[in-house]
């Protein structure tokens, strides 16, 4: 009996395909599908979120907003902001069960935001940039419009569903670091309002400003200020969730012109304790 070991040709047990080709196909395919799924989830959450009763949203938010006692001057500012907000709420026609609570934060952050449960937070850093009641009202009206449109619960619904989906997925990829990257991407894509929501809030806010004061002077004050400080860190517009500052100023002016809302009336000064 003759024994022999013929040479086995290469490429039967392994593939000759370049590893980067498989990598490219898998990444493009899976991440493409992922992006579509994230959009679909976001869309579904957007559709479902407004059906969450506002009372439930309020209950949910109570955990984050404990009654904090402010010292006297800060309390005065908060009360004034709250009064201004109450006037704007009446003008914007919020449903009767929706109420707005304004919180004043005594720190340097240049920001104001609306969040779950009708809470609006205004930081001292932002108030310092504004020099008329009308400019403050613009900011408040914009944030109140977000709440009227149910934007915070939409963003939260979208955020939670996307984070849940991506976290579940990152577990199956089986790599800790890749999972972390996915998790961060989930947080980045979800914790802000979309540009569309911002534009709608701008429009609603501007209309409220007109109905409260009879003109829309001061509506572009904040953006003009922001534009000055923005030039140092220039980002392309599509990277930001807020429409570009320049674009917002133009949109506001255009809307004012189209509706015949005057833009150059004298503005109401700030109360003494804010000057």
């Amino acid at each position: 009996m003759k024994y022999e070991n013929p040479k086995i040709p290469e490429g039967i047990n392994t593939t000759r395909e370049h590893p980067l080709k498989e990598f490219a196909i898998l990444t493009v395919g899976i991440f493409g599908a992922l992006i579509i799924a994230v959009f679909a989830l976001g869309w579904a959450a957007q559709w479902a979120a407004p059906h969450v009763p506002f009372s439930y949203e309020k209950e949910l938010s109570q955990r984050f907003f404990k009654d904090q006692s402010l010292d006297k001057p800060n309390q005065q500012i908060q009360d004034w902001l709250q009064q201004l907000a109450t006037r704007l709420v009446a003008v914007e026609g919020l449903p009767p069960d929706m109420d707005i609570t304004v919180h004043y934060q005594d720190d340097d952050i240049v920001n104001a935001f609306a969040t779950l449960g009708g809470h609006v937070v205004v930081h001292r850093g932002l108030l310092k940039e504004l020099d008329s009641e009308n400019a403050v009202a613009t900011v408040l009206a914009h944030e109140i419009a977000h709440i009227k449109h149910r934007d915070p619960i939409i963003a939260a619904g979208r955020g939670v569903s996307i984070i849940l989906a991506l976290t579940a997925l990152s577990g199956t990829v089986g790599d800790e670091l890749a999972g972390k990257v996915l998790g961060n991407a989930a947080i980045l894509t979800s914790l802000s309002f979309s540009r569309d929501q911002e534009s709608r809030a701008d429009e609603e806010g501007l209309a409220a400003l007109f109905h409260a004061y009879g003109h829309v002077s001061g509506a572009t004050d904040l953006f003009a200020r922001l534009k000055k400080s923005e030039s140092s860190l220039h980002q392309p517009e599509f990277m930001q969730t807020h429409p570009g500052t320049e674009g917002r100023i133009d949109a506001i002016k255009q809307m004012a012109r189209a509706n015949g809302w005057p833009m150059n009336e004298p503005e109401k000064p700030l109360p003494n304790f804010l000057r």
């Binding site: 009996m1 024994y3 022999e4 070991n5 040479k7 290469e10 047990n13 392994t14 593939t15 395909e17 590893p19 980067l20 498989e22 990598f23 898998l26 990444t27 395919g29 899976i30 997925l169 577990g171 199956t172 990829v173 089986g174 790599d175 800790e176 670091l177 890749a178 972390k180 990257v181 961060n184």
Partner: protein, 150 residues
Amino acid sequence: MADLYIFLILLALGFTIGTTVEKRHFRSLIRREAEHADLLLIASKLPTPDLKISESHLVGGNAVISVDYFKRFVAGLRNLVGGRMNAYESLVDRARREALLRLKDEAKQLGADMVFNIKIETASISQSANKALGSIEVYAYGTAVKTARQ
């Protein structure tokens, strides 16, 4: 963001180094297999009766090959959609061939010219708790025989 950069760097390192090492290993396997072609590996349990055998020994060869970061990531993606696991196939192939070559080394040192009853065992050595493949081990063993050739 830092995580993303670290991840991309690891991926690039895994790819460049992993591919270079794998190519070098395959070249070495092909060369050594040609050198050892005269030693026959036979899967059957017993030699045919016409073969005169003067000596027999148990011989074995063991190889452990580790997966690189790039392969593990690609395999992770492949896990989601299913299909041929190209990234790991080359790993198993290398480990199996390396183990057989080491078995042949041992058999040659004993002066054998054939190895019967070749058996192959394999195990995966997990690196972490999240059931990701760390490295793969292949152990090949058989009975090396010295034949009295006519």
